[in-house]
């Protein structure tokens, strides 16, 4: 659905179902240079399971207008305000990559609204190398292509896809090219600048789930495992794939998330 939010056209994927703010809401937060299409196989899946789903395109991403946020905190404030505007309660925040950092900040902001946190290919920090930061300014298309290549495991290299006929690389490059040209640069700098992850992780009081990827080259498994140790009682799973876990292992991820959600009161 498209709404006018903070003076800009804002797109919010709802998984093909109407938004119902009386239900438990799953809020999917995309990663750097991505948009709602990162969660093609999660948004519809959970919307058809009876959850209310929102997968917003952050400003300047996907179908949303506006200028991209310049920090993780700004991203979190934007989401927090969006939840208020949509009158959503009982929200489970599901972040992928950069979306995990935004989720950590939302944990600080949201009070009773937040019911649980799910981190997919996440960490408490996402340092970005200078080469990629510079390239995202000089040649965002090239930077996107490199991220798509690094971000996928062997399924990307070999054009293997659970969705018949789809290509991780071809889809990934085109999804990233839908964003404003400055979106990736601001996202990567936001990640690189973020340094409050340790404190934020230690302060998590709601149930938490982390699903990590064995062959993750963007947020390496080692970093993810250190991250989950900071969170009290974080249920942790590791899948055999690359960073783009939602499209590389959709059924396994959905099954883990579904089981976790069923355990929530």
């Amino acid at each position: 659905m498209i709404i006018n939010f903070k003076g800009a056209k804002t797109y919010i994927g709802t998984g093909g179902k109407s938004l119902d703010n009386t239900k438990k809401t799953l809020c999917f937060l995309h990663g750097s240079g991505q948009n709602h299409l990162s969660f093609i196989q999660q948004a519809r899946f959970f919307a058809y399971k009876g959850y209310s789903v929102i997968a917003p395109d952050m400003p300047g991403h996907g179908f949303s207008d506006g200028n991209p946020c310049k920090s993780i905190k700004e991203n979190a404030d934007w989401i927090s305000d969006l939840l208020v505007k949509l009158k959503l309660k009982n929200v489970v925040v599901i972040g992928h990559s950069q979306g995990c950092l935004v989720a950590l900040e939302l944990n600080r902001i949201l009070k009773s609204t937040l019911e649980a946190l799910i981190f997919v290919a996440g960490s408490n920090e996402i340092p970005v190398n200078k080469f990629l930061l510079d390239l995202s300014k000089e040649n965002p298309q090239k930077a996107s292509q490199m991220m798509v290549t690094w971000g996928h495991g062997i399924d990307g290299d070999m054009s293997i896809n659970k969705w018949p006929g789809h290509s991780h690389y071809g889809e990934g490059n085109n999804i990233m090219s839908m964003n404003k040209s400055t979106a990736l640069r601001y996202d990567l700098h936001s990640c690189d600048d973020y340094s409050d992850g340790i404190d934020a992780a230690k302060n998590i009081k709601v149930p938490a789930l982390a699903v990590l990827a064995k062959n993750d080259q963007m947020t390496p498994l080692k970093s993810g495992l250190k991250f989950v140790e900071l969170i009290k009682n974080c249920e942790t799973h590791t899948l055999d794939c690359g960073h783009f876990l939602p499209s590389e292992r959709p059924m396994e991820l959905n099954s883990i998330i579904n089981s976790f959600l069923l355990k929530l009161k």
């Binding site: 299409l37 519809r44 495991g153 054009s159 969705w163 006929g165 071809g170 889809e171 085109n174």
Partner: protein, 431 residues
């Protein structure tokens, strides 16, 4: 470790990794119509397009999917869909994009069945086409109307071998927000990848060079993922609510793969032109050697061009790699590896000479296909167009002395010897 594998490697590997259960190195042939659901919930997920997977082979199949993913990788597309023939692929694209009242701009120099579909069949369903010279970008621009929904052409025209200036035409289409759909059968992704030149959708007859062995009919649609379908007034059945799946917007839900998602949900579901898993396997076997074959096809083509151009019995030779071809400069720019292995030539002596030549060669096969590993010939004047007068053939861009040659992979000297046998028969006839 991530790799950007190169074309030759992708031709062999893309779309398949040996499974842990059997270790089968070759892509298994999943000769099945249907798939057991683990639960009613899983079945519903597949029907609702919540997740990817297989529910019925008319819609998708694991062997066919391996072929599709290989094609997407080779073309650099977002997604692909394989179907029963190249013509099925073309119809799937048109029916996915156009509705009654819509308009198409198409090349006037295309394969007869492509022309027939657009000129005679689609108007019965309210979709009309204006045909224009594919070498004239300005004419294409002028032909575009407010209700034009796509521009269609062949990268290398069949049988005239006209070359479309793809980058120029793509610019026009892009400025009008209209997808450029190209039949790329004659070039294959080895010679030219149209998405790199701005095209949006590719259709292939896999029967030809991609399959390469004349044993299986198949087609494919490859989607570049580089077209914005967001104009709900122009593309209401892709970006607006569709009758399927509770009013789904394919554009919002699938973004770059919206077109393929729609074709699978509507075209394959309602029309059903599915590719058999066994044919998908055969076609993939062909693709494994595509780079090697195309290289040899081009080498042999260039050698036979030299032979024909110099031959006393040959009246004329047409191929875009010859500097006498009107589109030679465009061909050099967009097809630097070569402009395919179809050659048209005329034999001195007209229609009877052509007939005598065809009936005297032994190695080259006289048949209607192209793109086989074996050398193929046809003489339209005595076969496909024998009912037409010389004048009528000329109007269609053909001459009664014309031989269409699909250069194969045999030893080039054997092909030349075989042709000399044909020319000898023509000489006798001319005496």
């Amino acid at each position: 470790m991530s790799e950007n594998y190169k074309f030759d490697t992708l031709s062999l590997h893309a779309g398949h990794i040996p499974d842990k259960e059997t270790g089968s190195r070759a892509v298994p042939i999943y000769q099945t119509t249907s798939y057991v659901f683990n639960s009613t919930e899983e079945a519903a997920s597949l029907y609702n397009m919540e997740v990817g997977g297989h529910l019925y082979t008319r819609i998708s199949n694991p062997t066919v999917a391996a072929l599709e993913q290989r094609l997407a990788a080779l073309e650099g597309g977002a997604s692909a869909l394989a179907c029963s023939s190249g013509m099925a692929a073309m119809h799937l694209v048109i029916s996915a994009i156009c509705s009654s009242g819509d308009h198409i701009v198409a090349s006037s120099k295309m394969y007869g069945a492509n022309i027939n579909l657009l000129q005679h069949t689609m108007p019965r369903f309210g979709v009309n086409t204006d045909f224009v010279n594919p070498n004239d970008p300005e004419a294409i621009k002028k032909a575009i109307k407010p209700n034009t929904k796509l521009v269609f052409g062949e990268v290398i025209g069949n049988p005239g071998l006209d070359i479309m200036d793809v980058p120029e035409i793509a610019k026009i289409c892009n400025s009008k927000n209209i997808p450029l759909v190209l039949d790329a059968t004659f070039n294959t992704p080895y010679l030219m990848q149209p998405f790199k030149h701005g095209a949006n959708i590719i259709v292939h007859s896999l029967t030809k060079w991609l399959g390469g062995h004349g044993i299986a009919i198949g087609g494919a649609v490859v989607n570049g993922g580089n077209f914005n379908w967001g104009d709900k007034d122009k593309f209401p059945t892709i970006s607006g609510p569709h009758f399927a799946l509770g009013g789904i917007s394919f554009w919002e839900e699938f973004g770059p793969s919206a077109l393929i998602a729609k074709i699978r949900a509507e075209g394959m579901y309602n029309f059903g032109p599915s590719l058999s898993p066994t044919n998908a396997f055969h076609l993939m076997q062909g693709i494994e050697t595509l780079p090697l074959r195309m290289k040899k096809h081009i080498e042999n083509t260039h050698s036979i061009l030299d032979f024909l151009v110099k031959h006393e019995m040959v009246e004329w030779v047409k191929h875009p790699d010859l500097d006498t071809h009107p589109d030679h400069e465009v061909a050099k720019r967009i097809l630097p590896k070569g402009s395919g292995s179809i050659v048209a030539f005329g034999i001195k002596g007209g229609r009877e000479a052509g007939k005598a030549f065809i009936e005297s060669v032994q190695l080259a096969s006289h048949l209607a296909n192209v793109g086989d590993a074996k050398t193929l010939l046809i003489h339209p004047g005595s076969t496909t167009h024998s009912h037409l007068s010389s004048e009528a053939m000329k109007e269609g861009g053909l001459t009664d002395d014309m031989i269409r040659l699909s250069v194969g992979l045999e030893d080039i000297n054997d092909i030349k010897k075989d042709f000399e046998r044909g020319f000898k028969a023509v000489k006798k006839l001319n005496k």
